[in-house]
């Protein structure tokens, strides 16, 4: 909203400089975003919040200035209309009064349409409104001054002596003043004559009936249209105007009638027309609201005692009528232009912002802490700590993705939840997996010449539920490239692998106190992760075709995705102390060659079984696969640790057990001892 310093001065005496005024308005909630000296005046630009349609007019802002500076508003010119309330030749038909609570029309004859006088032209141009001709300029001038959008039709272009306010029919069309042909429908409220639509109500007039230099007689419209209806109409047409902006936020009856009279008076004065007929149709003038304000409540909410007279002055300057009712109570009558004020709290806001937020003290409340409220947040934080310690960095990617990308990864079996109103392809669906987004981050980083990318994200994934989609907190991990690290001998390099991701999950499970978990192959390139006997996710060696979708070439990308809800359900952070071993153990290494396709896991579990109770730990100390041994075999060194909690074991006790263990390896697994 733009307005000028001198324009305000028409309504209120201002004794402070424009910049100081701007600052005061801002601190009262009317945010001035700029002041510019121009043509001997100062142009203000303000951001008006949607609850204050009255501020979309110079008079509304003048009222605010009056309240801030503690002066009275100058009284406006007489609002008496010179038009006779004639009956007869002209009819107004409003089909639904809830669409249009008020429609008033004035017929002004014998106007001389021509250029506006200099003062009018200048004022409009200062606030960026192009001067058209005296009649149109007057309607705009009144719009900006009083806040009521007016429209002037060329009376002689209207067919028949009737104005009809109705919803459009689905096949109807109208060329609006901006020369665009608009397709109308039943959601759109229009002004029509008996033959055709002539304006989109509250939005824009029609081209055919606009006022031009040839116009002789005009019909001046001042109405109150339903804000929601105007809103829907302008959304459908994609056409927002100064007029629709105000109607959406609300225009009141009094302002509408008053500014119509101001406008017709000006038109008579500046274009020597003659108002010959005024007619209006609509509901009765709405009743004014009264709110009972308890002064104790003001103090209770603001924590400051404001004198009663001060309260009365503040509200009075803002246009409220206030009278004391007994002790500590006031009855406040709300003017029609303040439809936003409904509750005592609304009045307290008015009081506080004029009194000044800066004059309200600062205190700290006493809060009763509720330490019992704890969600999965602590576990998420622990997970992030573990992963960070293991060298992974946290990524945050968009939850909305393009549908084709997820499909191309072959990770999505069900239809994702789709967005009804995406702005672009990247916002089509809610993702069902974190992997494609993370793979895209890998691709981005490889393009930035990063050799090793190790990332994770913790976020919700979404799936279709019956009545409500489901959200599941999920951990995604990706690893790609070649890790280099220093050893004492020099730089060592290592290719990313699935085992590294497995290692990360194992460490995480350990920290979370999860004992029962497993990794098992399931289909090509996919390892199923189970936690507490339940499927919780998978490790995946992504296929080339998937990688091609994110432009990763000649590189392997390994990833994991696990449901943190399932993982956390199995977590157990309770710790129970176990005494460190008091007696030394005996370690025996076995070097052996095994068939490659034997699952080490089952070999190890059989070892435990065989060596129990003395065998307390089995570790893979080394392994080798390659040229030195035949294909299909691998060489392993297994460390077996024997220990007792009751005594120091002797060789004589361990040896027979160990021989049994070794014999089992050769007999059950065909191991060759080296």
């Amino acid at each position: 909203m733009k307005f000028t310093y001198n324009w305000l001065k028409d309504f209120v005496d201002i004794k402070i400089a424009p910049e100081a005024l701007a600052e005061k308005l801002t601190m009262a909630g009317l945010e001035v975003s700029g002041v510019e000296g121009k043509g001997g005046d100062f142009v203000f630009e303000a951001e008006i919040t949607s609850n204050r349609p009255d501020w979309l007019s110079v008079i509304g802002i003048a009222r605010e200035v009056a309240a801030i500076t503690g002066v009275k508003l100058k009284s406006a010119k007489s609002s008496k209309c010179r038009c006779a309330k004639a009956v007869g030749k002209f009819a107004i038909k409003v089909e639904d009064k809830s669409d249009c609570p008020l429609y008033s029309a004035k017929i002004i004859r014998e106007v001389k349409v021509g250029p506006s006088p200099k003062w009018l032209k200048e004022r409009l141009e200062l606030i960026g409104c192009r001067s058209i001709n005296n009649v149109v300029d007057i309607t705009n001038y009144c719009l900006f001054t009083w806040g009521e959008p007016l429209h002037a039709f060329d009376l002689d272009k209207l067919s028949g002596a009737e104005i009809i306010v109705r919803r459009a029919k689905n096949s109807e069309k109208l060329v609006t003043i901006d020369q665009v042909e608009r397709k109308l429908d039943a959601d759109i409220l229009i002004i029509a004559d008996p033959v055709k639509p002539v304006a989109v109500a509250g939005v824009m007039g029609g081209k055919d009936t606009e006022v031009t230099e040839h116009t002789k007689n005009i019909l001046l419209e001042a109405a109150v249209f339903n804000g929601s209806v105007v809103r829907r109409g302008r959304q459908k047409l994609g056409l927002s105007t100064d007029s629709s902006y105000r109607f959406e936020r609300g225009v009141d009856f009094e302002t509408a009638e008053f500014s119509a009279c101001q406008a017709s008076g000006l038109i008579e004065e500046l274009s020597s027309g003659k108002c010959v007929l005024a007619k209006s149709s609509g509901k009765a003038l709405p009743k004014t609201k009264s709110i009972s304000l308890d002064l104790g409540l003001v103090e209770k909410i603001l924590n400051v005692k404001i004198a009663e007279q001060k309260l009365k002055n503040i509200l009075g300057h803002l246009g409220f009528r206030v009278r004391s009712v007994g002790k500590n109570k006031m009855m406040v009558t709300v003017p029609l232009f303040r439809e936003d004020v409904e509750l005592p709290e609304d009045l307290i806001e008015e009081i506080s912002r004029i009194y000044g937020f800066e004059n309200i003290p600062q205190t700290l409340p006493s809060i009763k802490p509720q330490v019992s409220i704890r969600g999965s947040r602590d576990l998420v934080a622990l997970t992030k700590k573990v992963l960070t310690g293991l060298g992974l960095s946290e990524a945050i990617t968009y939850s909305l993705v393009d549908q084709d990308l997820s499909k191309g990864f072959g990770l999505q079996d069900a239809q994702p939840v789709a967005i009804m109103n995406p702005l672009s392809k990247e916002q089509e669906v809610l993702r069902t997996t974190l992997i494609p987004s993370l793979a895209r981050c890998v691709s981005y980083n490889l393009n930035q010449k990063q050799e090793f990318v190790f990332l994770y994200e913790i976020a919700n994934v979404f799936s279709r539920g019956e009545n409500f989609p489901e959200e599941e907190l999920t951990l995604g991990i990706v690893i790609c490239g070649e890790k280099s690290f220093f050893l004492e001998q020099g730089l060592a390099k290592e290719n990313a692998s699935l085992l590294e991701i497995k290692g990360v999950l194992e460490r995480l499970f350990l920290k979370l106190g999860i004992k029962e978990y497993d990794f098992n192959p399931s289909g090509s390139g996919v390892i199923e992760v189970t936690v507490g006997g339940q499927k919780a996710g998978s490790l995946i060696n992504l296929e080339k075709s998937a990688l091609a979708r994110v432009d990763i070439k000649n590189k392997d990308l390994f990833c994991a995705e696990v449901s943190l809800e399932k993982v956390f359900a199995a977590a157990d952070l309770n710790k129970k102390f176990v005494s460190p071993p008091r007696y030394p153990g005996i370690t025996r290494d076995i070097s052996l060659v095994l068939k490659e396709d034997l699952a080490i896991k089952s070999v190890l579990s059989r070892l435990y079984e065989k060596g129990t109770p003395l065998l307390i730990e089995v570790r893979i100390a080394d392994y080798y696969k390659g040229k030195q041994i035949s294909a299909g075999l691998r060489s392993l060194t297994i460390s077996c640790i024997y220990r007792s909690d009751e005594r120091t074991l002797t060789e004589a006790e361990v040896n027979p057990v160990h021989s049994e263990v070794v014999r089992m390896l050769t007999e059950s697994f065909g191991a060759k001892i080296r």
Binding site: L343, L364, Q370, K384, L400, Q450, N460
Partner: protein, 339 residues
């Protein structure tokens, strides 16, 4: 050539050295492969057996002395800096240290954690809510009428096939959830992802993060809101900042205030970051609207409360001087490693 004359020459030579290059020449002269010490030790086999031991010890002592002189001179030449190459264990301490690389926590997570920590110190509890919400929780319950311009500030993604479900456009619906499921007194902060259909550019993103907070009790005042938010802002941006509370409009609070801090870049003088205003808008806040209490079944005559909300990306951008919101979601390792 006897060791004593070499020692004498040594002292003269070392005193004359004025550059690292000269020092290196000195080192080569005495300790090089064909240097004086090598020459001396080369003599050992030619000596009578009984002298070899003693001679060897002296040659070693000489070598040690030369090394000391070199190290000393090196320190002197490099302004007292210790450039000794060998540590106690014989490792070259100037080579890169050996350690597992650390990962990095995303800056947005760090900012969220920092802010939540401040509020938990003040006695707030952290609660989270779903990202998919009902129209009621996102709008109606918060006193935002469905067909009203106040909704324009909350453009929203709606879901296909699910009527009246949407991606939350702010974290405020968690207020509704928490107030419905718990009884006052309440002091809660809510971090989380929110969504608005915005075209992506340097300052807009269709997904971003917010932190919401609110208190409900029998005697919460506007002055409490001012006190809590000032404590918070000073904890995040430092004790030197100035603050102002500016009246504003939010449908779910009454009175409503926007909170500005003096620009942390220009200290209030006016710069491009604060749009020459000297102030930065960091929070929206206000006393919880009685209609919100009515929607969740809390008696507005008995209870009052305040609520506030902020954009995490904005706070992070100000705190770290980040100038493009897209950096948060690109996950460039060169970006992440800075945090």
């Amino acid at each position: 050539m006897d060791i004593y004359s070499i020692k004498a020459q040594l002292d003269a030579d070392i005193q004359a050295i004025a550059s690292l290059q000269a020092l290196e020449d000195f080192r080569l002269k005495y300790l090089g492969r064909k240097g004086i010490v090598a020459e001396l030790t080369g003599l050992i086999p030619t000596l009578p057996k009984e002298e070899r031991g003693k001679f060897g010890q002296e040659a070693n002592a000489l070598k040690g002395r030369i090394n000391e002189l070199i190290a000393e001179k090196q320190r002197a030449l490099s302004g007292g800096q210790d450039t000794k190459v060998s540590g106690a264990s014989g490792n070259d301490i100037f080579m890169p240290g050996i350690a597992q690389e650390l990962g990095h926590i995303h800056p947005l997570t760090q900012v969220i954690d920092e802010i939540c920590a401040i509020f938990t110190q003040l006695g707030f509890s952290i609660v989270e809510g779903p990202e998919i919400e009902t129209e009621f929780n996102n709008f109606t319950g918060l006193n935002i009428p469905l067909d009203h311009p106040s909704r324009d500030a909350f453009d929203t993604f709606y879901l296909k096939d699910y009527s009246k479900l949407l991606l939350r456009s702010h974290t405020s619906p968690v207020q509704i959830r928490a107030m419905k499921s718990r009884k006052p007194p309440l002091a809660i902060v809510v971090p989380g992802r929110v969504y608005r259909p915005d075209a992506v550019d340097a300052s807009h993103s269709f997904m971003f993060h917010q932190i919401e907070g609110f208190i409900v009790d029998t005697d919460i005042k506007f002055s409490d809101l001012k006190g809590v938010l000032e404590t918070f802002a000073k904890a995040v941006f430092g004790n030197d900042i100035k603050m102002r509370f500016r009246p504003h409009f939010f449908p779910f609070t009454e009175p409503s205030a926007e909170v500005d801090i003096s620009c942390i870049i220009c200290k209030g003088k006016g710069c491009s970051v604060c749009g020459r205003k000297g102030w930065l808008e960091v929070l929206g806040s206000g006393m919880i609207h009685p209609n919100v209490f009515r929607h969740v079944g809390i008696d507005p005559k008995k209870y009052t409360g305040f609520a506030f909300g902020m954009g995490v990306e904005r706070i992070a951008m100000l705190k770290y001087g980040i100038n493009d919101i897209r950096l948060f979601f690109e996950n460039d390792l060169r970006f992440l490693r800075q945090f």
